[in-house]
Amino acid sequence: MADERGPVDGSHPSVHVDGEVVATKRVGGYRHLTLTAPGVPERFRAGNFVAVSVAGHVARRALWVHRVRASSAFGPTLDVVVEARGSGTTWLAAQPVGARIAITGPLGRPFALPKVAVSCLLVGEGYAAAPLFPLAERLRERGCAVSLVVSAPDEAHLLSALEARRSARSVTVLTADGSVGQRGTVADHVAGLVERSDADVVYAAGPHAVLRSVAAAAERAGAWSQVAVETPTPCGTGLCHGCPLPVVGEDGVERVVRACAEGPVVRGDRIRWDALPDALGQVL
């Protein structure tokens, strides 16, 4: 697949701006924030993320961009989906309309788009399904047949697939507890899903274990895979080399690259999964 995602280097036209919360909405177990961030929505491509500052904290928090609007009453905006877990995400989820937040973005290499109309399977787990929605739109514009899989532990952590139905030919819902859709995890279902969708390209976003199962299923089926990794990124901008991602280069040489700068989207068959720690530092 042609890789037209642009340079990995600093010519990536990211900006650091003072953003503002213009809408906030609780949806199930998540908080959706709509933000202004002058220059970020305009430059966004699906698979990019933003790094946000949290009051009183030095490290940045990375968030997938779920949606951009070219215009609104507030000008261009972007949406993020926050799951309140630790200190930073809890603070973010509590920010009211009018709160100002320093935002850097768009960051990272986005999903590579196929040059011709092919069949695509998109698999997202939890909030990480967020970047697949704008991806589905781009793919549909290119005439690709899009099958979308949204997965979560339970219904409250499922991103709404309703709006995706416009861009996707088929939508499959998986919950581990069976509260809605099919019962089971991505790992349980992915082989059959790849087969049924007859996918040429499989895109995935979620925890490392989910990505690994998707990449393996794609490889077995002879499909390309593009996975968006969530390796903790202290700065998000490529400055600190703090988010090691073990890969095999095109030349067959093993390397460690920065997940935020050379990723977060990489070919699934390039990741050395056995060497990749999960977010807590444990090897999967």
Binding site: D9, G10, S11, H12, P13, S14, V15, H16, S53, H57, V58, A59, R60, A102, T104, T231, P232, P234, C235, T237, G238, L239, C240, H241, G242, C243, P244, R255, V256, A261, P277, G281
Partner: protein
């Protein structure tokens, strides 16, 4: 001929990526005229340590990145020419596991076009873990500086970057200066541990008072030795504290990871401050 010292604001080692990642945030002129210290370069390529490499703690970060770098050869072929073309004043940070490696690095960098000066990393927070030449006593760092100075032209500065240890800093600064260091950078990250006990270095606002004390002691004891303050600089006030304590320049590290525009804003603010002082 005396070496032209950098300042008043520099990018600290290991916090500016390869330079390219900083460019979008460096202001209207990009990296042109910016005093930038590279991440520490070693003779051979290093992949860096395992994750997590950087974790957040109150007031700062603990890091053990493990000096990931492409090795001198590759740096000279790719990263350095790019930085020089971008107009940065490049100070190459060098790190070695032996004195001979430091000398080798200095010799080869002395012939590379566009190197404004060297910064010698002789105070890493965990030299054993990073497989670096161990600096326990001031004469250890002084002998490294002497070895580097012999290989590097005297019209370009060699900076000695020291550990901000108040009980040793004056001795360290004196012996490095006598060994030929043009200025001392005070200092590196403070030796610390990750929550799981692994060795690392603490950086960020939490260490500013420690490094400031060290700068003040060096300036009091050795007023003729140029010092560069490094540790927790993030705004005009924290930079000004070092300059007021006698530092001739400051370096910005961790603050860039929090806000990549910090150096651009500080350069503008300090230029304004200088104008106001002149007036």
């Amino acid at each position: 001929m005396s070496a032209q010292l950098p300042g008043p604001v520099m990018v600290a080692a290991g916090c500016g990526g390869t330079g390219r990642e900083l460019e979008p945030y460096a202001g209207p002129d990009g990296l042109a005229g910016l005093d930038l210290v590279t991440r520490s370069i070693t003779l051979d390529a290093r992949a860096g340590g395992p994750g997590p490499r950087v974790v957040e703690v109150p007031g700062g970060l603990v890091n053990a990145v493990g000096l990931p770098n492409p090795g001198l050869e590759h740096f000279l072929a790719t990263e350095l020419p790019w930085l020089v073309r971008a107009g940065a004043r490049v100070f190459v940070s060098i790190a070695g596991s032996t004195m001979g490696e430091y000398a080798d690095l200095a010799r080869r960098l002395s012939r590379a076009p566009g190197v404004a000066g060297l910064e010698v990393n002789v105070g890493a927070p965990d030299e054993v873990g990073a497989a670096l030449f161990e600096v326990r006593e001031p004469y250890h760092s002084a002998s490294v500086i002497a070895a580097v100075r012999r290989e590097f032209p005297t019209d370009r500065p060699v900076l000695a970057k020291l550990r901000p240890d108040v009980s040793r800093i004056v001795e360290g600064a004196r012996s490095c200066h006598e060994a030929g260091a043009s200025a001392v950078v005070v200092g590196n990250a403070v030796p610390a541990a990750f929550p799981d006990g692994r060795a690392g270095g603490l950086s960020g606002p939490a260490i500013a008072p420690i490094a400031l004390r060290c700068v003040a002691e060096v300036h009091r004891a050795l007023p003729a030795v140029p010092t560069i303050g490094c540790g927790g600089v993030h705004d005009l006030r924290s930079a000004g504290a070092y300059l007021d304590a006698g530092a001739s320049a400051v370096q910005v590290g961790t603050a860039l990871l929090h806000d990549p525009t910090t150096v651009a804003r500080l350069r503008a603010a300090l230029a304004l401050r200088a104008l106001q002082e002149d007036a």
